[in-house]
């Protein structure tokens, strides 16, 4: 079924020898471009309708000669898929020839020989042959035609040569990738070896510029299904994109922008590639994803990029537990597109790791394709799935993530994300990103819990001091909120209006005021079972006209679990009766709770897995081994050997204490 590279080359050579023309010399080199010494080469032509080729060529002369300028990609496509060769010759060609001319050029391959006995002709010497010349033409015209034809054939053969070379390379690629397919059932280490070879092969092709020949071949990518042949597809796509970028001297030419030709290719790839194969070509994958993101930004349609980036990330690493630079790209795109829920599938996954340099350089590379429990084992620094990360990247990611949740009014999750930012370990200095996050933390804390939340317990004390001095207006605002005086709150907000707008927190502050009222009313529900609407404003410190509608809207939006009762005596205002705590609709509430519990359980399970992974990584880290070693040396020097083991254990605990 499969044609190995060698057998195919042999067939080509064999076919050339059929003519017995000694001037044709071809040299093949495996894995490299063919080098042709002689300018002439056998051209194998086939007439679709079975009529004389040259006659047709002459009759449609101008077309043929114009055909010289036909780009290579317009030449008859190589019937690459093996399942075609049982078809009838005619249907075979009718499916594969795209050009408007009747002349087709066909590379002779073994199976084609067997099915289509080709008409062999051409080469400059054979042009005199009567079968190729139309007797009707005049001598002069004939000679002119001949020179034209000679030039045409020379050009054609040149084109064909490169075509031939490409076809050879293509067949190589196909066979290499087919080689991989056949090893799907192999043990993972064998598969690992093969796929590494394949990637190596492509990297070499890339450095020798061999893939350049496909740069303009639109049809090439049609041959590959990104779900099966992810690696060839990815590499060639990259080359094509680079070519287009070079040609247009523009980072994001029209082809790459959304709805461009290459964009659709990239989109096709990113939504259907094979995750395991791409693990081996992390760098190329990342460059493609970044390009897609940036191109969509450049075309000011970030939403298109965001969905693609999100799909690609989830495809490569369904757990998304390792932070990469693409995470940041994604949230940034989503924020720009205001498509907040688009980022949720990634944001909802808990990030627990950073790409780390696994092990010492001497150690064996791990088997990437194996079925790992956690993605941290294949998302390493070496795989270059992520570009170099600095602390700013992850701080920004969590801040942006928090902002996404804020936009969706999921305050609790937003609070968690902001909490991550403000509690990050820092040595002696504070990042301004953290200060920004603290400001938002204060406001979101008011919105979610109605009080000033203290920073997470892990926050370093000196950082807390810095926050308190830099975010003073926010803390004052929170204190006023807690004291529960609306007038003072409004005054406080007006006084620091410049601060809010400079920090771009005006929207949050406005929501704080809205929440203040509902919080106060809900709090009243804990004190009163029922009270008249006339009494309400005294408790809330609001004017009576505003209170009525506000309370009704609260009840209607189900933020407040209460009813308004009209008293018989119409002179009196209506009665606000707070529902008692346990009169909630039982069943749906229970179901809701159950699903929430399940969700948290699942989350905890993933956390436990990740915890094990972290533990493992820490145990393998240089630092741990080093301290362990030092501990042993130290206990040895103090001349008390029996305690040596214990000292080691204590060092272990200290290390963990440091880490947490």
């Amino acid at each position: 079924m499969h044609h190995g590279a060698t057998s195919k080359l042999y067939c080509v050579r064999h076919c050339l020898r059929l003519r017995g023309d000694e001037r044709q010399v071809m040299r093949y080199e495996r894995h490299q471009m063919l080098r042709i010494r002689s300018m002439t080469c056998q051209i194998i032509s086939y007439n679709l309708s079975g009529r004389n080729v040259v006659g047709q060529g002459k009759r449609d002369e101008s077309k043929v000669w114009r055909g010289v300028s036909i780009p290579l990609s317009d030449l008859p496509t190589f019937p690459g898929s093996p399942n075609n060769h049982h078809n009838s010759p005619t249907s075979h060609f009718s499916t594969n020839i795209h050009i408007p001319t009747t002349v087709g050029f066909l590379l002779q391959t073994s199976y084609q020989t067997s099915l289509l006995p080709p008409l062999l002709f051409s080469s400059s010497s054979n042009l005199e042959s009567p079968s190729y010349c139309n007797p009707d033409t005049t001598k002069a015209k004939e000679s002119r035609n001949r020179t034209h034809l000679c030039a045409f054939v020379a050009k054609l053969s040149c084109a064909l040569l490169s075509y031939l070379a490409r076809m050879t390379l293509l067949s190589d690629i196909i066979s290499a990738s087919a080689h991989l397919h056949s090893s799907n059932h192999l043990p993972s280490d064998e598969y690992d070896r093969r796929i590494r070879e394949l990637v190596e092969y492509f990297r070499r092709l890339q450095t020798t510029k061999a893939l350049e020949s496909f740069a303009n071949d639109e049809s090439f990518l049609d041959r590959f299904d990104p779900a099966i042949d992810s690696i060839p597809f990815l590499f060639v796509l990259r080359v094509q994109i680079q070519k287009v970028q070079e040609l247009n001297a523009d980072l994001y030419p029209a082809d790459i922008r959304p709805s461009g030709k290459l964009w659709t290719r990239a989109a096709h790839f990113l939504t259907s590639f094979d995750g395991v194969q791409v693990r081996y070509a992390g760098r190329e994958w990342r460059l493609l994803v970044e390009l897609v993101g940036q191109a969509s930004q450049a075309a000011s349609t970030p939403l298109l990029g965001a969905t693609l980036v999100k799909d690609a990330m989830l495809r490569l690493d369904p757990s998304c537990a390792v932070f990469t630079s693409t995470h940041l790209l994604l949230v940034r795109l989503c924020l720009q597109a205001k498509a907040y829920s688009c980022a949720l599938p990634v944001l909802n996954k808990r990030i627990c790791h950073f790409p780390i340099s696994l092990g010492r350089p001497s150690s064996e590379p791990s088997v990437l394709c194996a079925d790992h429990g956690s993605s941290v084992s294949f998302m390493t620094e070496a795989s270059e799935v992520s570009s170099k990360i600095s602390y700013r990247d992850y701080l920004q990611y969590f801040l942006y993530g928090g902002m996404v949740y804020m936009a969706l009014k999921e305050w609790r999750k937003a609070l968690h994300f902001l909490g991550i930012v403000i509690s990050m370990p820092s040595t002696s200095s504070v990042s301004l990103i953290m200060v920004e996050a603290y400001k938002k933390w204060v406001l979101v804390g008011l919105l979610e819990k109605g009080k000033l939340c203290p920073p997470p317990s892990m926050t370093t004390p000196h950082v807390v001091k810095v926050y308190q001095s830099l975010a003073r207006p926010y803390i004052i605002l929170a204190h006023t909120f807690e004291r529960g005086d609306l007038k003072k709150l409004n005054a406080e907000i007006d006084a620091a209006m410049g601060v809010w707008s400079a920090d771009k927190n005006l929207g949050l502050v406005a929501q704080v005021v809205a929440v203040f009222f509902s919080q106060t009313v809900i709090k009243l529900g804990k004190t009163f079972a029922a009270l008249t609407m006339a009494d309400l404003p005294k408790q809330v410190s609001l004017c009576a006209e505003v209170t009525g509608p506000a309370v009704s809207s609260l009840i209607m939006s189900r933020a407040l679990n209460a009813t308004l009762v009209q008293t018989k005596d119409h002179a009196e205002s209506s009665m606000l009766r707070f529902s008692s705590i346990h009169s909630l609709p039982r069943l749906s509430h229970e179901l809701d709770l159950q699903s929430q519990l399940k969700q948290e359980m699942k989350l905890m399970e993933t956390l436990v897995i990740n915890l094990g992974e972290t533990n493992n990584n820490l145990g393998l880290s240089d630092e741990y081994v080093d301290t362990l070693h030092k501990g042993q040396v130290w206990s040895g020097s103090s001349e008390v050997n029996p305690t040596g083991g214990e000292t080691g254990l204590e060092m272990d605990e200290d290390l963990m204490g440091d880490m947490s």
Binding site: H353, P425, M434, L593, M604, D622, V633, E650
Partner: protein, 543 residues
């Protein structure tokens, strides 16, 4: 020494700096060990040097006090006086809001004051005189008479000034200049004489004489009202005390001075010392009642009413009239009863107050307190509160109780509302108001309106979390909250799960950040690439 060493690593190895430090210490101790071998020094001395070299004394086990008594340096007495002065400086300038008690108290001034002896008589009389318009003239006149018998000029002047404000025409309201001059001169010469004598004793180096010299000087200062100097003189006695009896008497004197100064911290510490003093069993038993009474008093003044109540309840009944210069058995009954009412629940009151054999003796002196507690235990809150209200003027004129009465009464009231609510699931506000706010019921048209003070009080209680109930203003009910246990459990489970997950995630991330060397650090121009270097800050410490 080596043994001591090996037990240290767990403490020392807490952090990175400490590891480096511990290596240094290791070297240091090795060298010390050689020195000790060479010079045959005592190990403890080495530890001592070592400690001063490390400059962190707390790291070593706290045996220094017992093993090296001489290491504590200058005498403790000096430090104590310094501390005492410091605390006194904080507590004395207390700006009291003048309390005016218009209602007539139930007691008779003469019999009341006859219960007391010593300087407290003047203090109490002066307080009554300034606070109660009804008794002011009598009380202040008695106070002036009291002051004139003593040698305290400032007190006399103060009392005369106060009387001049109340009754300018009274003959006692003008200063007796001759007496003042004479007393001042006497005090001055006496002080000089005593100080001279003390110097003489000190030259002779006889401990007992020096002690007595200090004591005389202290007594003199105390009588003339120079309390600071008195306590200083008393505390100097310490170094010259030879028998436990001397120590106890000195400590009692200091307690008395501190009580008058209102320096309750010092009272507390002296009481502590009294408890620990090794006097003879019969003396100890005799002193116990005084000690526990005064310690209870200081606890009450510090606002810890439950402890004060327990201490008052444990005062032995043989206190009698032995401690009249500070507290009488009647006072013990009143203070103890009110503190207990304010801080204990019904069961505790029944068990440890009403059924207490020892405290019964005190309660018999003040039967109304006993009645109030009994009413409280029997759910008759109205009667209990009525009794307390009736005696409020008396207590407001008490020198110790005055400051605490509003606070204590408020607590009792809150507690009775709380206790009242316990058996009900819903109570009408009217019935509650009848018990707890009879004046409101009588005086206002709508006693259960939201703006009535009683309802506002309830609102305050609910918001403070004292009452677990809600007010239904439509039906005029107070409804106690029914907790749906199932929902509550579900809610707390979910909440704790969430909190755990969030915290776990935070900690895992922290570990990951530190492992990847990505913690937030200042830009040093090297960029973030220095991960490895940052991760090995203790490189030089390696061997």
């Amino acid at each position: 020494m080596i043994d001591r060493l090996t037990c240290h690593p767990p403490h020392i190895l807490c952090s990175k700096q400490h590891i480096v430090l511990s290596v240094q210490i290791g070297c240091y101790l090795l060298s010390l060990k050689q020195t000790s071998l060479l010079f045959k020094l005592q190990p403890l001395e080495i530890i001592c040097q070592f400690q001063s070299a490390r400059n962190t004394p707390s790291e070593l086990p706290g045996k220094m006090d017992t093993t090296l008594p001489d290491a504590s340096g200058p005498s403790r007495a000096d430090m104590d006086t310094a501390a005492l002065e410091a605390t006194a400086a904080i507590t004395t300038p207390r700006a009291r809001v003048p309390v005016k008690v218009e209602e007539p108290p139930k007691f008779d001034l003469d019999t009341y004051i006859a219960n007391y002896t010593g300087r407290t008589r003047y203090d109490r009389l002066y307080l009554i005189g300034t606070c109660s318009p009804l008794l002011s003239t009598d009380a202040l006149k008695a106070a002036i008479a009291e002051a004139k018998t003593s040698k305290d000029v400032s007190r006399y002047e103060r009392a005369v000034r106060a009387l001049a404000d109340v009754a300018p025409t009274d003959p006692d309201a003008s200063l007796d200049a001759a007496w003042v001059q004479e007393t001042n001169r006497y005090v001055q010469t006496q002080t000089e004489r005593l100080e001279h004598e003390l110097r003489g004793y000190k030259n002779n180096l006889i401990k007992e004489s020096i002690r007595m010299g200090h004591e005389d000087l202290g007594n003199h200062h105390y009588e003339t009202g120079d309390l600071g100097a008195a306590s200083k003189a008393y505390s100097r006695m310490r170094d010259y005390c030879t028998t436990p009896n001397h120590i106890t008497s000195m400590l009692f004197k200091m307690v008395n001075v501190a009580t008058e100064r209102g320096d309750w911290m010092s009272v507390q510490s002296n009481v502590h010392r009294l408890r620990n003093s090794q006097s003879k069993p019969e003396d100890a038993a005799k002193n116990l009642s005084k000690i526990s009474a005064v310690s209870a008093l200081s606890q009450m003044h510090q606002g810890s009413y439950l402890e004060a109540a327990n201490s008052f309840l444990s005062v032995p009944p043989d206190l009698g009239d032995t401690y009249n210069e500070v507290i009488t058995p009647n006072d013990v009954a009143v203070y103890g009863g009110i503190c207990a009412l304010a801080s204990m629940n019904r069961d505790e009151l029944q068990k440890s107050v009403l059924d207490s054999q020892t405290f019964r003796n005190f309660l018999e002196l003040e039967p109304h307190i006993r009645r109030a507690i009994a009413f409280f235990c029997n759910f008759k809150f109205r009667q209990c509160l009525d009794i307390l209200e009736a005696y409020r003027p008396d207590y407001l004129l008490d020198i110790h109780l005055q400051r605490h009465i509003p606070q204590l009464y408020k607590r009792i009231r809150t507690k009775s509302i709380e206790q009242y609510m316990i058996p009900f699931s819903r109570v009408t506000l009217d019935s509650m108001a009848k018990i707890f706010a009879p004046t409101v019921v009588g005086g206002e048209a709508r006693p259960t309106d939201i703006s009535s003070p009683f309802v506002q009080e309830l609102v305050g209680l609910i918001q403070d979390g004292v009452l677990n109930a809600r007010i239904d203003l439509e039906k005029g009910l107070l409804v106690s909250n029914q907790i749906d246990l199932r929902a509550e459990v579900q809610r707390t489970t979910l909440e704790s799960l969430r909190e755990f997950n969030e915290e776990a995630h935070l900690r895992i991330l922290h570990a990951a950040v530190l492992q990847a060397g990505l913690d937030v650090k200042p830009e040093m121009g090297e960029g973030p690439g220095l991960g490895k270097g940052g991760r090995f800050p203790r490189g030089p410490g390696r061997d």
